[in-house]
Subunit: 286 residues, 2 copies
Amino acid sequence: MTEGEGVKILLAGSAGFCFGVKRATKMAFQASEDHDRICSLGPIIHSPQVVRRLEEKGVEVIQNVEDIVSGAVVIRSHGVTLCELEAIVEKNLKIVDATCPFVKKAHENAEQLGRQGYSLVIVGEKEHPEVQGIVSYARSAGNVYVVATAEEAEKLALTGKIGLVAQTTQSFDNFSEVVKACLRKGREVRVFNTICDATSVRQNEACEIARQSDLVLVIGGYNSANTARLAKICRAIQPRTHHIETVADLEKSWFDGVSVVGITAGASTPKWIIDEVVEKVKCAGK
Amino acid sequence: MTEGEGVKILLAGSAGFCFGVKRATKMAFQASEDHDRICSLGPIIHSPQVVRRLEEKGVEVIQNVEDIVSGAVVIRSHGVTLCELEAIVEKNLKIVDATCPFVKKAHENAEQLGRQGYSLVIVGEKEHPEVQGIVSYARSAGNVYVVATAEEAEKLALTGKIGLVAQTTQSFDNFSEVVKACLRKGREVRVFNTICDATSVRQNEACEIARQSDLVLVIGGYNSANTARLAKICRAIQPRTHHIETVADLEKSWFDGVSVVGITAGASTPKWIIDEVVEKVKCAGK
C-alpha cells in the first residue's frame, strides 16, 4: 500500500446489483415483513452476506420443494423449473415470485418455440439453475439442447426449424457464433435475443477500468459465476486482479506501489459491501 | 501457349448450369415446341448464346408485360415481381413458370414474414431482378429493406421483430454477418436461410482450381453477375485469370509458359460452350 499519499479509486458505475437482483432482494426483504413463515428455494442471490441478513429476518434457505411444509416461498431471480413451480402450487404455498422479468421472458420464448415445433438450442451453462428453468419450459419441443459454444452446436444433429434463446448473462459474441453455427444446419433459424445488457455493460466497463488501474478488486460471492467471470476478464488485462468477497479479504501487500485502484462488483454484490471496500481502500491510501 | 507439349486442364465439376437454370432452359426449349407464339420476360438466363438459340426457336425476349399481346410467356429462373405476375394473369397469357424452386421458396418466406408482422431485411443486390421479386412478395411487411452488407444493416432503424431472407446466390459469411448485425437490434430475429449451395460449391471449387493453375478461364455471359464474381475470386488467387464468354475470346498470348489451365463457368453457361473452350485449349496445348 502506498503510504503517505492517496490512491486514486476508479469505481465502476455498473458495479453491483443488476435490475433483477435488486428487485428480487427487495421483494425478499419485503416478504420477510409480510409473512411469519417464509423460505427461499435455494439462496436468493449468490451473496452469502445478503443471504445471512435475510436469514436473520427469518427467510430460511431450503433446497428442495419437498422439504417445505407451509408458509411463503420466495422464487429467486434465476427462476425455477416448471416442475418445481407445479410442486409449489400443488402444496398450496404462498408464492413470492422474484424471477427476473428477463428470465421470465426467456421461459416464454422457449415455451413458444417448443410449442411451434422448433428444435430448441439454449446457449448457456447446462448446470446453471436459470438454464435448467428455461429447459423445463420447452417441454413440448421435440429436441432441446444446451450448448456453451459454437463448437458444441456444430456437433448437434440439427436440421429444419431451429429456435434459439440464451442464458441472460451470455456474451453477445458467443451467442451470435452459435446462431451462425445453427444457420449452417437449419433452413429456418428463429432467435430470441434474451441476453440482458447489464452483463455486457458491466464487463465492458470492467475492461475499461482494468486498463487504467495498477490493481483491480472484483467484489462478489465466491459462488457467483458472473463475479468470477468479471475477475477473469480483468485479470487478462491487469494481472494484479483479486476476487474478494468482503473488505475482510483485502491484503495490505497487494497495494505496494499502487496508485490507481479499479473496483467493480458482480450482479449479486450489495452496495454496502462495495462501500465498505471503497472506504477501506481510501483510508489505506492515506 | 506452350507449343509442342500438352497443357494439363483442371475442369471444375461444378462448372456451368445450376439446377434452376438447367430446369428453366429445358422448360423454355420445351415450351418453344408446344406453343406457336411464345416469349420470355427478359432474357431467360444471362447467356447471350442460349438466348440466341431460343430466339431461333421462336422465343422472343420482351422486357415489359405491357408489350406482350398474346400467347405463352416464360418466367425465367430469377422469377418476376408479384405485380408482373398479376399483370400476366390479368392478360390471360399462358404461363410457363420456370422460376427456380429455391427462389420461389424465398418468395414464400418473405410473404410469410411480412404477413406475420416482421420488418423484413433481404440480403442481396437491390437492382437484381431476383431481389426485386422477393421484395414484391413482402408487401404486407411494415418495412422492407435490401442490404448488401452488415455495415448497411447496422445503419437501419430496426427494432422488435426482424425477419431475414437472402438472395439465393449470397455468400453464407456475408449473410450471417448481416444476421449478427440484426441480432444487435431486434429482440427477435427470424432467419430463413434461402442461400442455394450451388453458388458456394462452385466458388469453393474455383478457389481450389485457381490455386493449382497457371492460368484460369472463367466462362460465362459478360452480363452474368455470378460469372463476374467467380472471375474476381479466381483472380485474387491467380492473377492470370480471364473472364471469357465463348471460345472466340481466347487469346494465344495468355498461354505463354502455361502448363496447368483451370477452367470453370458461371451458373448460366451451357455445356456446349464449356466443351468448345476445353477442346480448343486441349488442341492449343499440343
